[in-house]
Symmetry: C2
Subunit: 437 residues, 2 copies
């Protein structure tokens, strides 16, 4: 709690009362703005203080407004749909609006001189700029490969890394609990190139293998390193959640093949854009070939939109609080996640039913302070001996989550999205409290 | 030639001289507009006559401006990059401009009530409206599945139609010459579900099979029907080119599974949006599953853009010439294709080196007139006995095409894109003429 409070400055507290008074008016604005971007500039709040207080304000508004629980609505926290971030981008107003005329970006080709010919130069530029600012990945000496979300890049990586002339498919492993889609994504086409081989910790087959290292890990949020107890593995690092709002940025990742996605970085899941940083040009070339064969490139419209969003995000952290750049995305998001984790931990600590992972705090090079891991998912465990299936228990209370079995572990665990809109997150807390009493 | 001229009215001829005078000014405008959509409304030409003369004007401007052939530039007509259409959409000005605010379409979900949960309702609505207008496909009783281009939908269809528990992969066939990417798209992952089995005409293996019916066909432009000489085949109809500018619309296609793509209909290849019309809800469900596993849905930004473009395209044909709807997309495009084919046939007829397919004219229900097939690709044959490899011959003249071997036939054939920008198309004609003399 002390650590949580330390991230709020006196300034935050000073503007709190103002923010509370403004909150209702702002809510009305947001509802009205949803379909009228052009009206936004006239309406948008231009007070810097007002924006800076946003993180603090939201908690209190949420707690009061979430009083109405009709008890019937199913809360879907099964997917990691990052709608929590909508609020921030509403506040940023027209800065991130893209305008695409009908004759723009019609050709298949974004950049014929780039080995990744469907990569928009502006998107590549903003990716490099963002990594340089945040310090979470080395971009020098890397080919950027853009994909239709990082799912497509994961499949492209398997295709690129699997030997083409092997007598049997290469094994693909990841330490349990692993991302629930890895097994089905690897096996759905019954490929002769690669095959899911389960938990990296129990993997002992001879020969080459591909190990997926997700860090921080989905579902449990822990920092991960390769787990197979021998050398010779080909590594794919999925760093979708290696951003300051979720985990301390300890150093710039410097791996052979690293995946990122816009959806978890900025919240724009519907845009379907991810990127890979690839050291070996031959591997990058094969990934490009995969994307050619599966979708003939990646939507140029979405890349242009993503480029704009990354640009604004970087600007906001470089010059926080200036009228032209807005409030720092990462600081606001860090505060929001800190709040939510604080509230969830309080609720869980009051009960004998559930537990949450304990994380080591660490120094975040980007925030320049000690920070706590506060993952995009809560990896909740039912501690009660009488409950075998935590997913069913929660479903009975109209909370949809994803059970441990999907992640290669037991049904005592569930994964819960921490990125839903305020209202749903608060309903989740309320219903969790009911189970405990 | 008589048929070609008959599509021009006296009105076209009347405005021709005006159009020619304006053309240079308009070109200067377009160059200036490329990066400044907001300036467009003030600058855009509002004369209806001027627009109506566009098709005629373009030929003459092109013929004069294409006089400069530096002789060194490689013309890439290997891909079917539909940049020819940029001009039309420039003329349509702001009508097709999309504005996407930063907080819009952030969720993964477009429509949770639709089995295809990532389908934007507005896109689905415009697809139905367009088919109803053109009369090229039955949409009633079909599930629309949106894809990242029709390539993804082709793969989704294979996944959905292949039996999951068969002892060997199902055979996938298409009559030669077939689309050059079918074999590699089918086999690149060495799937245990499906396998490329070559030319449908020589296919005689027992058991189930999937036949790809591309009509009009890529590369040769002919109308196609299933070719395997027995029943029991599962059919996938690829109707990417079944639009009035390419072929007479004889009736509304009424198949089990039909693929379309925005890139060939409107020219927006960079947007990566295709759609399938699927009769069996279970097949549609499996296609949705495929897209979930490969890319977790389809870019919502691109669907919104595509919806706007289809809407404007339909409006333009419903109310041609009205200021608010613009000149008919299909009529303008039909004229353009007619011109290009006319010029190409003239060039080919003058030579002893090449030949082109002869097509049967037919009645087009949409244009309400007899019309000629005028495919998006020219399927050129080297008739000279001394030339074995037509692709190499043309490459020697700095014309990149795709040789017959890629399409399952001999190297005497090449496929040439007819959809490039005016300048390149005219360079192509000039260089072709040089080979003949």
């Amino acid at each position: 709690m002390a650590n949580f409070l330390s991230i709020f400055t006196m300034r935050n507290l000073f503007v709190l009362s103002l923010a509370l008074n403004l909150s209702l008016i702002m809510r009305v604005f947001y509802e009205g703005e949803k379909h009228g971007p052009h009206e936004l500039s006239a309406q948008k709040a231009d007070s810097r203080l007002e924006k800076e207080a946003h993180a603090t304000q939201r908690t209190l508004v949420s707690l009061s407004s979430s009083g109405q629980d009709d008890g019937e609505k199913l809360i879907n926290l099964d997917h990691g749909d990052p709608t929590m971030y909508e609020s921030y981008w509403q506040q940023m107003g027209e800065k991130t609006t893209v305008v695409i005329p009908g004759w723009q970006s019609m050709s298949y080709f974004s950049d014929v001189k780039n080995p990744c010919w469907f990569l928009e130069p502006e998107f590549a530029k903003q990716v490099v700029r963002l990594h340089n600012l945040v310090g979470n990945a080395v971009t020098e000496g890397r080919q950027i490969v853009v994909g239709t979300g990082s799912s497509q890049l994961f499949l492209a990586a398997l295709y690129a890394l699997a030997p083409k002339d092997a007598s049997e498919p290469i094994s693909v492993v990841s330490a349990a609990p692993f991302y629930s889609s890895y097994p089905s994504m690897t096996d759905y086409l019954k490929s002769g190139l690669y095959k899911w081989a389960g938990d990296a910790l129990s993997f002992d087959k001879e020969g080459p293998y591909i190990e997926l290292v997700t860090s921080p890990n989905n579902p449990d949020g822990f920092v991960r390193h390769p787990m197979v107890n021998r050398t010779g593995g080909i590594l794919v690092h999925d760093l979708a959640y290696y951003w300051p709002q979720y985990t301390p940025i300890s150093s710039a990742a410097d791996h052979d093949l690293t995946l990122f996605t816009v959806s978890k970085a900025t919240g724009h899941a519907g845009t379907r854009i991810g990127w890979a940083l690839v050291k070996d040009p031959e591997v990058a070339k094969k990934m490009v070939k995969f994307i050619e064969l599966s979708t003939i490139g990646v939507s140029r419209d979405s890349q242009l939109r993503a480029a704009r969003i990354l640009e604004v995000m970087t600007n906001s952290s470089q010059n926080p609080g200036r009228a032209e750049s807005g409030e720092s995305f990462f600081k606001i998001s860090y505060h929001l996640m800190a709040e939510r984790w604080q509230l969830l931990r309080e609720a869980v600590n009051r009960s004998r039913f559930f537990s949450l992972p304990d994380f080591q705090q660490g120094f975040c090079q980007f925030l320049n302070q000690v920070s706590q891991p506060q993952p995009a998912f809560a990896w909740l465990k039912c501690e009660d001996d009488g409950v075998e299936d935590c997913e069913s228990l929660l479903r009975g209370h109209k909370i949809l989550t994803r059970g441990g079995r999907s992640f290669g572990v037991g049904p005592k665990y569930v994964r819960v999205s921490m990125l839903d809109r305020d209202h749903n997150f608060n309903l989740f807390l309320k219903r969790l409290a009911l189970i405990q009493t």
